[in-house]
């Protein structure tokens, strides 16, 4: 069957944002990521799928050096962001993570007010000149997180008092407050109900206008719904990487087919 051109889902750019070459990750003696080469495009949602323990989250965490925080973890190979090596000793991981934001599986707002949750990043990175400036950033970020209307009247209320879906959108708003270029999401909807999930998915699609989004998900349907590119990981290998429509109608590798159709591979 032919792919119907769907304007909304079209990959609008072919510019590579992040590029990995010969990426290897070891946890002590365990070889967790084996020789992964991948080009992640700008203004595109890329989904990483694969069974538990296949390395998709590990690889995602390489992209903003979150693995640096794990002592036994060793990363080899080249990972570049806009052509610059992110593992260069001159790169400050904190600055890198401002550019490559991350949203986690469980919503983890700071035990502070909604306002301070968003303002925290801009403050430590010195992005606001004054209070008015900071107010602007907070509003803009909350709007981008598609949660402004729900919280604008209670910015002083604690972030932890929001519902799960709202907390997750708050965390996404917090991640975009530092004006990142890439947004990494590790199972952002697994703790959310279908409505909150749909809201986050809609948000992801909107964020794609400005960012490169990489999402790790266990829900194949979610990968199919939100992404334009899909990468399938298995036992630390990147088995197949391609256009999402193609992966879900006509995968080339039998391991991909077995996994997405729910077979014993």
């Amino acid at each position: 069957m032919y792919d119907t051109p769907n304007l909304e889902n079209k990959v609008v750019t072919n510019e590579t944002k992040i590029s990995a070459r010969g990426c290897q990750v070891y946890y002590g003696d365990t070889h967790a990521i084996k020789d992964v080469d991948v080009d992640i495009e700008d203004k595109t949602v890329t989904a990483f799928i694969g069974p538990s323990g296949c390395g998709k989250s590990t690889f995602l965490r390489c992209l903003n050096r979150m693995n640096d925080t794990i002592d036994v973890c060793r990363v080899e190979g080249d990972i570049t962001l806009d052509g610059e090596d992110i593992y260069d000793p001159k790169v400050d991981p904190v600055q890198l993570r401002a550019k490559v934001g991350m949203v986690f599986q469980k919503p983890n707002p700071f035990p502070k007010s909604i306002y301070d949750n968003i303002a925290y990043g801009p403050r430590i990175h010195g992005l606001a000149k004054n209070k008015a400036d900071l107010d602007d950033i907070v509003e803009k970020s909350l709007r981008r997180g598609a949660i402004w209307d729900e919280v604008k009247d209670r910015l002083d209320a604690p972030g932890t008092g929001l519902s799960g879906g709202q907390q997750q959108r708050l965390c996404i708003a917090r991640a975009v407050a530092t004006e990142p270029e890439v947004l990494l999401m590790d199972e952002p909807c697994s703790a959310l109900d279908p409505i909150a999930t749909a809201q986050v998915e809609e948000l992801i699609d909107e964020l794609r206008q400005d960012y490169s989004v990489v999402i790790v998900t266990h829900s194949m349907q979610q990968a199919a719904r939100v992404s334009q590119k899909t990468a399938f990981f298995h036992l630390g290998n990147l088995v197949e990487y391609g256009e999402t429509g193609q992966i879900f109608t006509n995968p080339q590798d039998p391991r991909t087919e077995s996994y997405i159709t729910g077979r014993i591979g």
Binding site: T249, E257, T261, G262, R263
Partner: protein
């Protein structure tokens, strides 16, 4: 039927659902193949009773199509199939549509047989029609075998054989034209016979379409190469012979 499938699904009822849909296709295919042959036999043997049975039998074929569509809709809604499973469900839906049309053509042949038995037979025509029907029934059988065995090569063979059926139709078309020019009293019978021949030719196209679906199912893409086409009657003028 599991031997042609890949690895089984972790959720076993998913396999059962897919197999049910495909078993219904095979059942429908069996009825359609029989209808083709019986329609041609009833014509050759001027057997009105058999023709009537073919007309009656179309109801069962239509009911199966309905059942297959419901099964497919259920599979899409409840299982959200992807990749090869998705292609299986899509081809099940298309093939049942093809088979339903072929059933209608067989029914139409049987209806015309009811009229034709009231008239003087036209020399040699019903034998040629039976041979044509047999060729199409073989195409149908092979297309369905190719489907169940996921055999793209056999499907390709079926696609190529459609040209032979087209040629048989061309020959009959010219023959009927000649009979009608020779004696206007032949016109009614020859018109009916011509429609019958055309129906069989269309059945061949549906068998070919099923073969296309098999290739899509196996390879993930619809064959794009032009197959040889031999139906030239659209360009013929009646001053032939």
């Amino acid at each position: 039927m599991s031997e042609f499938m890949k690895d089984p699904h972790i959720v076993k009822s998913y396999d059962r659902d897919l197999e049910t849909a495909q078993a219904l296709i095979m059942k429908m295919g069996g009825l359609v193949e029989a209808a083709i042959l019986e329609a041609a036999n009833s014509l050759e043997n001027r057997d009105e009773e058999l023709a009537e049975r073919v007309r009656e039998g179309d109801r069962a074929i239509d009911a199966l199509e309905q059942q297959i569509n419901e099964e497919a809709a259920r599979l899409l809604a409840l299982r959200q199939p992807s990749a090869g499973d998705l292609r299986t469900v899509l081809t099940v839906m298309k093939i049942s549509g093809n088979l339903e049309r072929v059933g209608d053509y067989a029914k139409n042949m049987a209806k015309r047989t009811g009229v034709l038995v009231q008239m003087a037979p036209i020399d040699g025509s019903t034998g040629a029609i039976r041979r044509m029907a047999k060729a199409v029934e073989m195409m149908m059988k092979d297309a369905l075998d190719a489907y169940i065995q996921r055999d793209a090569e056999l499907a390709q063979d079926v696609r190529l054989r459609d040209a032979e059926v087209d040629q048989m139709y061309n020959a009959l078309f010219r023959q009927f034209l000649t009979f009608m020019l020779e004696d206007p009293r032949n016109i009614t019978a020859c018109m009916h016979l011509h429609f019958i021949a055309k129906n069989i030719e269309r059945m061949g196209d549906h068998a070919t379409s099923i073969a296309d679906q098999v290739i899509y199912l196996v390879t993930g893409s619809v064959p794009e190469d032009e197959r040889p086409k031999a139906d030239r009657t659209a360009f013929e003028t009646h001053d032939t012979p």
